[in-house]
Symmetry: C2
Subunit: 106 residues, 2 copies
DNA sequence: AAAATATACATTGACAGGCGAGGTATATAG
DNA sequence: CTATATACCTCGCCTGTCAATGTATATTTT
């Protein structure tokens, strides 16, 4: 929504992985969930979201499959892989370190 | 140095402004100071540093003047402006908010 | 005296992530 | 029947980062 986007840059993949740590999900739902969690303070732009999915899938961090909805628009579900879980944990640690780093610098 | 760069992206200007809040300084010194503060965990690449200076100066956030060194390499000193101080304060607030936002999402 | 290192500034061109703008398709509410 | 919500996707631009490269002076090492 606001000015935060620049500062969240670089966390997009981790945010998506975090959602997929809870359960398999699809783009639209993930984004809604982010909006709810942040009281509409933040959302991923669709182009950002889907390009992140591509990167993550190409890197073997997530896998996708089509949902079996008989009604409504089709959904492409994503599932986090072992590799993806490991990346998520690593990114979380990096975030903890980076937070301290920035706090000490600004 | 390491993997942090992606996550610090977006904070470069604020980090520079933070240094200039303390005192007028020049590129090389600012970078050394950052390295010392972070125990060599982080440093700005020169190209990044100088392009940030350009942006900040063009935006009226900092002003520059040549030092009067009679020996050694010349130094271009930077001074933070009123506008720059305001931006710094705003960026700090944004950081506080963003930190919470990311913490809630990952 | 020569070579290496430290100090100090600067530019160029490539790269990657974010995103505006545009497009497709189905279902429901007014 | 029109608007809105759900759901996916791509193209091409913009911006910040950074490797590589270049300049110049001073000190330290060999």
């Amino acid at each position: 929504m606001s000015l935060t986007s620049d500062l969240v840059r670089g966390h997009t993949e981790t945010i998506i992985l975090a959602q997929l740590m809870k359960k398999d999900s699809y783009g639209y739902e993930i984004n809604k969930s982010i909006q709810e969690t942040t009281n509409n303070e933040y959302e991923l732009k669709e182009a950002t979201l889907y390009s992140a999915f591509r990167r993550l899938e190409n890197g073997g961090m997530i896998e996708s499959y089509w949902g079996d909805e008989t009604t409504g628009a089709r959904r492409r579900y994503y599932k986090i892989t072992i590799l993806g879980k490991a990346l998520y944990e690593k990114n979380k640690e990096d975030w903890t370190r980076t937070k301290k780093l920035i706090d000490s610098l600004i």
